[in-house]
């Protein structure tokens, strides 16, 4: 990644990024640009460079911020109406770490509202278009992040991955997308979707760049009790000998060809391929769509029109303030998930749905543990199909959910996974695969991708 120096100024990098962002308006990537503050910060960094001070590991590197991160720069919308752009008094831990190293946020990017979705079509600000084909979806929920990197507007973008929201849009747009081990990066200051699966991660153009970002952003945070003790920098890079592939997934067409080709390449590099039977994974999607909506319904309770955000002006009673504000302020997909969540948590159904799903989740975790006793990493498609057409699945939410079948089990188990680009379909659409590792194998995973998958 291009870092500002005496030869290349931060100001020139930021200006170029902002210009590109404006040229790409038709893709509907940015919700808001951070022009003034970005240029000001670029100047400060150039000053530091001039004075010979340390400008940071990401000096002057322009990046895009998914609009569910809180920061004192700009207002957070989470691509929803109900936040009625929120001015935050605090900055997310992850954002602060990046900014402290000199990274410059040039704008906040589009997403599915509250990260609910797989296409960025559930945004209050309209869908983001695919970088390879404007008639197709960017993927989601971090669609804006993926397209901003794919179109070379920024060097990297932040994302959040609750069930595939980084890896799927990365693979739909031909970039690297990394979801770390659950707890690797602080969630403090990130609008919560599902607390037990939400992960902060990155989009970039190489595994090496992501390694740099991880070394900066990962680490224990007293403001997020679920963060893991620091391990990223200190973990050993392992010598990978065996890669597993999952027999249970029904992989077809060009994705199948891409997977087979990658397997041949790995074999040619002396990697042993292990076939894995993982029968419990077929329950993962059902488990996910119980556990995650339950947590969503809980985490989204705070948007009630009382203390901040949108409030319906015609409401005449407390119940109406709640009902009308939430009814207007949430997108249909938000409401759908809140209703599913409230249903599975309601008394009389809790044991049958939520509790059972948690038990199944434990089995899924064990299944991965078993798999990793047989191989170092698992290679898998990210999605069953490449990017679909805009509007193709909006009327059928379940078919949209089915697109997540290969990504959600990883979130339920809290594992790290890197989506990387492999090839294109004959229509020119991006094809990606993902490499999944055991918990805390993040560094090895990125190292393997950098050295062996290229």
């Amino acid at each position: 990644m291009q870092i500002a120096s005496k030869e290349v100024s931060a100001t020139s990098l930021v200006k170029a990024a902002l210009e590109k962002a404006k040229r790409c308006e038709n893709y509907n990537i940015f919700i808001s640009l951070n022009e003034e503050a970005a240029l000001k910060k670029a100047q400060e960094i150039d000053e530091k460079i001039k004075k010979g001070e340390n400008p940071g590991k990401l000096a002057g590197v322009p990046y895009a911020l998914k609009d569910n991160f809180l920061s004192k720069d700009g207002n957070t919308t989470a691509a929803s109406k109900i936040l009625e752009p929120l001015k935050s008094p605090i900055t997310a831990t992850s954002v602060k770490k990046l900014e402290d190293e000199g990274a410059i946020m040039i704008g906040r990017v589009n997403m599915d509202a509250f990260a609910h979705g797989s296409s960025t079509e559930n945004s209050y600000f309209g869908p983001t278009k695919n970088s390879k084909d404007e008639a197709r979806v960017a993927g989601g929920s971090s669609g804006g992040s993926a397209v901003a990197v794919a179109l070379d507007i920024v060097e990297f973008a932040t994302g959040t991955d609750t069930g595939g929201s980084i890896r799927q849009p990365a693979s739909f747009n031909g970039v690297y997308g990394f979801k770390p081990t659950y707890g690797a990066i602080s969630r403090y200051g990130v609008v919560a979707m599902a607390s037990s699966t939400d992960c902060v991660g990155f989009f970039a153009k190489s595994a090496e760049d992501i390694d740099l970002l991880m070394s900066i952003a990962a680490g224990q945070d007293p403001y997020d009790l679920t963060t893991l003790p620091n391990y990223y920098e200190t973990s050993e890079v392992k010598d990978v000998k065996k890669v597993g592939i999952i027999k249970d997934f029904d992989v077809k067409g060009e994705i199948k060809e891409a997977l087979e080709k990658e397997v041949e390449d790995l074999k040619a590099k002396g990697i042993e391929i292990v076939e894995l039977e993982m029968p419990t994974l077929k329950y993962a999607l059902a488990v996910y769509y119980i556990v995650v909506p339950a947590e969503i319904s809980s985490n989204l309770s705070r948007y009630d029109g009382i203390r901040y955000g949108y409030r319906n002006k015609d409401a005449k009673s407390l119940d109406e303030v709640y009902g009308k504000s939430r009814s207007d302020g949430f997108m249909p997909e938000n409401k759908r998930r809140i209703m599913i969540g409230n249903f599975v948590l309601s008394s009389g159904f809790y044991d049958a749905y939520y509790l059972k799903a948690q038990k199944a989740r434990t089995l899924i975790i064990k299944e991965y543990e078993k798999a990793f006793s047989k191989c170092d990493f698992i290679l898998s498609p990210v999605t069953p199909n490449p990017a679909f057409k805009l509007g193709e699945k909006t009327s059928d939410p379940v078919s949209m959910y089915l697109e997540d079948v290969m990504s959600v089990p990883i979130n339920l188990a809290g594992l790290p996974s890197l989506a990387f680009p492999v090839s294109e379909t004959k229509d020119g659409l991006s094809l990606g695969l993902q490499l999944i590792g055991p918990r805390r194998s993040d560094k090895s995973l990125l190292d393997f991708a950098e050295r062996r998958l290229k």
């Binding site: 569910n68 991160f69 809180l70 957070t76 989470a78 936040l83 929120l86 935050s88 008094p89 605090i90 997310a92 969630r187 403090y188 200051g189 990130v190 609008v191 919560a192 599902a194 607390s195 037990s196 007293p222 403001y223 997020d224 009790l225 679920t226 339950a294 947590e295 319904s297 809980s298 989204l300 309770s301 705070r302 948007y303 009630d304 009382i306 203390r307 901040y308 407390l318 709640y322 409230n342 948590l345 309601s346 008394s347 809790y350 939520y354």
Partner: protein, 468 residues
């Protein structure tokens, strides 16, 4: 038919006296503070905010558990309890439903009975709403204050018993140092479940009276409910399972919410807070650090102080603590109970009690009859006088001129002076004629002549001797 047996179970919310809130780092003591001045982004539920766990609150919960003679669970977890109300910014309260920190225990009451504790759990307090014509205001200062909710078994069977239980809980929690115990400011609140049934029959349907904040209102609400429910049952009607509110002004309970309207709290494990793991060592350590509880003082002062005096003093922990440091607990306890507590400013005085030495000296002087009981009280009160409070008992007695004359030589001189006074001639004659009564008059005269400093007990034998 009126012979119903009343069965009562009580849930008590205790605000823990931590410096900061349960999940954020702002001031936990909002008394006398501007509304919404002790509120962090965590407390008002800014998106992206996550709870931190105040270790001090966990420590206090463990101490409270010990004070309740309860099992401390080495593994406990938080859960979310959902409902919509403007006093609850997140739309859920972080509580403990499935695995509370405090298990079964009991509270021993002064009358020797025990009320079993089912469990006690940690949770956060909600904010406070004030209602006005056409609008309501929210104050979130209290939102996020750490609470423990102590849930009793239905072991209570009268209004007085309910009152005594609440009072004993209040004493225990304040003695243990986990609660400021300011009931007026809501430091402790009681939800009282009441049902009636004929003896030997299964428990009746209960009504829950929410949010009582004084022992008196607990007692009155139970009395009222007994009457209300027994009237219904007498008429063959049914008691409705519901939540009722209490009004101190009307002295009545009124229906708030029936079971059918009850909220579904949609409990869910709290995913933002990992389970609390306590070590045996930590739990034991908290036991060692436990201050003395009312029951310990009862044991300590047994037989030395009248039960009713002790029960009065037990309402004031600093008094019994001080009492424990003194030698003559009988005298000192009487000064505390009948002199100090009778003072208008007694509440203030409790914060600045005399030293054990001052009290011991005073008791010793009284014992040796260097002071009359009246004189002793006068000196005792000066211990609270800002001008004199740090001075010795003897110094103060001298200053007040209340030291009694016990010196026989000096007393004899005064007695002689009185006996030679012509005004006493008639009395002397009467005494010699056999009237014992006039001796009192003569003692009085000696006292007068000594300006009150003579010890009457010492005067009498001298008089008798001289009149022989």
């Amino acid at each position: 038919m009126k012979d119903y047996e009343i069965t009562i179970g009580i849930e008590c919310h205790v605000q823990l006296a931590t410096k900061t809130k349960l999940f954020s780092e702002v001031d936990n003591d909002a008394r006398e503070k501007e509304p919404n001045s002790c509120v962090s982004p965590v407390d008002y539920a800014l998106p992206g905010m996550l709870p931190r766990l105040n270790k001090e609150a966990v420590r206090m919960a463990v101490i409270a558990g010990h004070a309740l003679n309860a099992k401390i669970n080495l593994l406990s977890r938080f859960d979310r309890k959902h409902y919509y109300y403007p006093d609850l910014p997140k739309g859920y309260q972080i509580s403990q439903l499935y695995q509370p920190i405090i298990g079964a225990g009991y509270v021993a009451l002064p009358d020797g009975t025990k009320v079993r504790i089912e469990h006690a759990h940690m949770e956060e307090d909600a904010g406070k709403l004030s209602h006005f014509a056409g609008y309501s205001l929210v104050d979130l200062n209290r939102a996020g204050t750490p609470l423990i909710e102590i849930v009793s078994e239905p072991d209570i069977h009268s209004a007085a018993h309910a009152r005594d239980y609440c009072k004993e809980l209040w004493r225990i929690m304040t003695y243990a140092g986990v609660c400021f115990g300011d009931l007026y400011n809501g430091n402790m609140r009681f939800d009282v479940n009441i049902s009636l049934a004929k003896p030997g029959e299964p428990l009746g349907t209960r009504a829950e009276i929410k949010n009582l904040n004084s022992f008196r209102s607990v007692e009155r609400a139970v009395e009222y409910e007994y009457k209300r429910q027994s009237k219904l049952l007498d008429k063959g009607e049914k008691v409705v399972q519901e939540t009722r509110g209490w009004s101190d002004d009307t002295g009545e309970t009124t229906s708030q919410r029936s079971k059918e309207e009850a909220q579904d709290y949609r409990y869910m494990p709290e995913p933002d807070i990992p389970p609390i793991h306590l070590t045996e060592e930590f739990v034991e350590e908290m036991k060692v650090e436990m201050p003395k509880l009312p029951e310990d003082y009862r044991e300590q002062f047994k037989g030395q102080i009248a039960d009713d005096t002790l029960e009065i003093l037990l309402d004031y922990q600093p008094l019994v603590e001080k009492l424990g440091e003194t030698k003559d607990v009988k005298r000192v306890s009487n000064w505390f109970a009948s002199v100090l507590l009778a003072e208008e400013k007694s509440a203030e005085y409790l914060n600045d009690l005399p030293s054990a030495k001052q009290l011991n000296d005073l008791a010793e002087m009284t014992e040796k009859a260097e002071l009359s009981s009246t004189g002793a009280k006068e000196v005792f009160l000066k211990f609270f006088d800002p001008q004199m409070k740090n001075r010795d008992a003897r110094e103060i007695a001298k200053e007040l001129n209340v030291l009694q004359e016990n010196d026989t030589g000096a007393l004899e001189a005064i007695v002689d002076q009185v006996l030679n006074d012509p005004a006493c001639a008639q009395a002397i004659a009467d005494y010699k004629a056999g009237s014992e009564k006039v001796l009192g008059f003569l003692v009085g005269q000696v006292m007068k002549a000594s300006k009150g400093k003579a010890n009457p007990a010492a005067v009498q034998p001298i008089l008798k001797e001289k009149l022989k």
